[in-house]
Symmetry: C2
Subunit: 106 residues, 2 copies
């Protein structure tokens, strides 16, 4: 097992305002790399659509951001961390929409 | 790092037909536990909504299914694995919709 059973998984999908802008894409990825320095983050993964294409697959987003936290409290701390607030301030204008999935073990 | 940089991440969200049926929920979770035996799966996580509630959070689904694969080929093998085909056959009637996000490293 790589992911701990009691981990808090936070998966975010970003749709850029200008999906064709390589510059905006780089800005968002750079912003996420800075954001990855929030101390409570156990692991992160910055993703792009994998190239799969079936009717159940959503591949319309530009960037995914997967975070593993030790527990729900750490995720709360992440939300309030100054690095996170700075990321939102600097990058919010880049995306038109964002969807977040927070999951814990059944 | 827990998740390898070149991992293939497969994240599925299920909306049950009968979201209030504890029985159907257990059937789906049991099905996923059997499905986790597909040899190419590096790690899996069966999740429920974490109880967070902001406007960007989608917490309307019943079960999440996060898989880590070594690479895209392994994910292809998973799709065609007899255990996976049996899972679909046995559990397809339980959900009304499913959304899949496949992500690889930028």
């Amino acid at each position: 097992m790589i992911i701990k059973k009691d981990a808090f998984i936070h998966h975010v999908f970003f749709w850029l305002k200008d999906a064709k802008s390589k510059e905006d894409l780089i800005k968002l990825i750079d912003g996420l790399k800075k954001l990855s320095k929030v101390p409570v983050i156990k692991d992160f993964h910055i993703g792009k659509p994998a190239g799969t294409n079936r009717n159940v697959i959503d591949n319309t987003w530009s960037v995914s951001w997967l975070l593993l936290f030790e527990n729900a409290d750490d995720q709360q701390m992440y939300q309030a961390d100054p690095i996170h607030l700075k990321f939102i301030e600097e990058c919010l204008h880049l995306w038109k929409s964002v969807v977040v999935y927070d999951t814990i073990n059944y």
